[in-house]
Symmetry: C2
Subunit: 339 residues, 2 copies
């Protein structure tokens, strides 16, 4: 399969993550992409550098003020006496306040929902490089490839049109889906990352032409906590075009595949022209953040079932943290599209 | 003046504060109340222990789910593997998500707007003790005293009906204002803390019988950033009953007193039965968090001007951090009501 990888992801190298009240190292490490690259290269996939796409496709999905913050916020933050090396929000408008001005602390808390996505000097260029990978994979599929893979890092599916969250800055799969929808018509996004793709859901919440389907650990006990419930099904013209399948912690291969068959039925019924896959490997049994129990053979079976839809498929890397199974799981998944 | 002080404030002893991306000591230290107590005692004020009021008055102002979180959240948080010693939020629902479940991390980010108000084992009892001080001062004034002072700690004016923020858990002045309004009719709240009293404003936003007037450093460049602007004037039946006077950083005594005269004109026109004063001393020139330049003589002049309204006055302690002027400023302010 054509694999799009950009070394520019290394420019985004977040250091801190506040977890349960303690400052810890960020698990969204650059090494994640290097592990995936090495494993896929060794498995014979064709590694390509994406072309640079500029910002037009990103602007079609994201809020202009948010993009200005991602691009220029770091410099403003550095002008604050005593500021940390990367932007970490500490005050938030919450549900009771609604005025945004230019102060760097106000911008940080407005545009960043949590402490998992520090913005550093290279974040904007790193995030754009991830979008480039997603867009080059999309162009390959729009041009006729059966499947292509964007080795995107940082991930994207928690990013809303106007807010970062959960290691995600720009929503790679949403930007790709918008481009694919404009080129081909109806598209479906299937999110198999262990976390609910709340940002993607939010971006397409009112859209009838983009089906969003997500399998994920139950948000009642897991990030993102405030979204991803089965009763969320879209609104307005998009009513019914969101489908969430929350799974209990501990879910293994067989129960996952059973839920997946419901997801695939929904996708078939939608009759999309193209499928986008938000491809996290953090449902793996040994993932350090995960709570599901998917094996490498499980990831292969999941991919085989998805491939059997017969749809052109754009694979977009989401989460999946440093674990022994990370490379093998990616190889197993992509192999199903190489038959 | 009768001064209500409870040693139970010591039960709330927050340790951490994330400021511009770095974990620092909380400046909202128990010593603040001890400094005020010592200075006022030495100046001859009568120190009294408040009576315990239970939770009915608090329940009249605050959301039931929020109160349950303050009361029981700490135990649930302690059940999380690897959790910190006090509750510090790290994920927030923001403007894009709206479902709350019971998980401790979800509760923390829903009910706490920023990283300045950690909830520890003694927070609930400490916050209730502050409310007791406010309520005993209120009862003294309702019963006929010219003025009384609640030496409240933790402070309260940033706390919304359903959310903590800015060192504040329970909104002492709002609870007191509600009791005073029920007993006497129309009341006015004058907030002279250096920070906008966003929580108090939110609680009475739609109320025609409670005037909220605040002088504070311009939120465009200062906490709470997202509220406190001059264009915020209340809504529905409360339209016109909110009056904000943001002041430029560096404002000194004379410019402050000039703005104060506008605030007092508004209060006179409202014709309240009782005045509540959200009394922060963090506008002091030497306050470690403050950005205004009020002198001790300035605080005396401010108090003299307020006293000249001739209204029964309930003084509720808000902010003001450890600084050489803290005790003298409190003594100077209270002296104006002792003529």
């Amino acid at each position: 399969m054509r694999v799009f990888y950009s070394p520019d992801h290394l420019r985004h190298d977040p250091k801190s993550f506040i977890f349960r009240g303690k400052v810890v190292d960020s698990p969204e490490k650059p090494e994640r992409a290097e592990v995936l690259l090495k494993a896929l290269s060794a498995a014979g996939h064709r590694i390509e550098t994406p072309k640079q796409h500029g910002t037009a496709a990103v602007e079609a999905v994201h809020d202009a003020g948010y993009l200005a913050f991602l691009k220029d916020g770091y410099r403003a933050w550095q002008g604050l006496p005593g500021a940390s090396a990367e932007i970490v929000p500490n005050v938030h408008p919450g549900r009771n306040m609604a005025t945004l001005r230019a102060h760097p602390v106000a911008q940080a808390g407005w545009y960043v929902a949590d402490t998992a996505c520090p913005v550093g000097e290279g974040t904007w260029m790193g995030a754009l490089a991830a979008v480039d990978c997603a867009l080059s994979a999309t162009e390959a599929v729009v041009a006729g490839e059966r499947a292509a893979y964007g080795l995107c890092r940082p991930p994207g599916h928690h990013a809303y049109a106007d807010q970062a969250g959960g290691f995600c800055l720009l929503n790679n799969v949403a930007v790709a889906a918008e481009v694919a929808a404009r080129a081909k018509g109806r598209v479906a996004i299937l999110d198999v990352d262990v976390h609910h793709g709340n940002g993607t859901q939010g971006i397409f919440w009112r859209r009838p032409d983009v089906l969003f389907v997500s399998l994920h650990a139950d948000p009642a006990v897991y990030y993102p906590f405030y979204a991803g419930y089965a009763e969320e099904t879209g609104a307005d013209a998009g009513a019914g075009a969101t489908f969430n399948l929350p799974l209990p912690p501990g879910t293994g291969d067989d129960a996952y595949l059973s839920a997946l068959s419901r997801a695939l039925d929904r996708i078939r019924a939608f009759q999309p022209e193209v499928l986008l896959i938000s491809l996290g490997f953090d449902a793996a049994a040994d993932d350090p953040l995960g709570v599901l129990k998917i094996s490498t053979e499980g990831f292969r079976r999941i991919a085989v079932a998805i491939e059997a839809l017969g749809l052109p498929a754009i694979l977009i890397q989401e989460g999946g943290y440093l674990a022994a199974s990370l490379g093998p799981n990616a190889v197993a998944f992509l192999s199903a599209f190489e038959r």
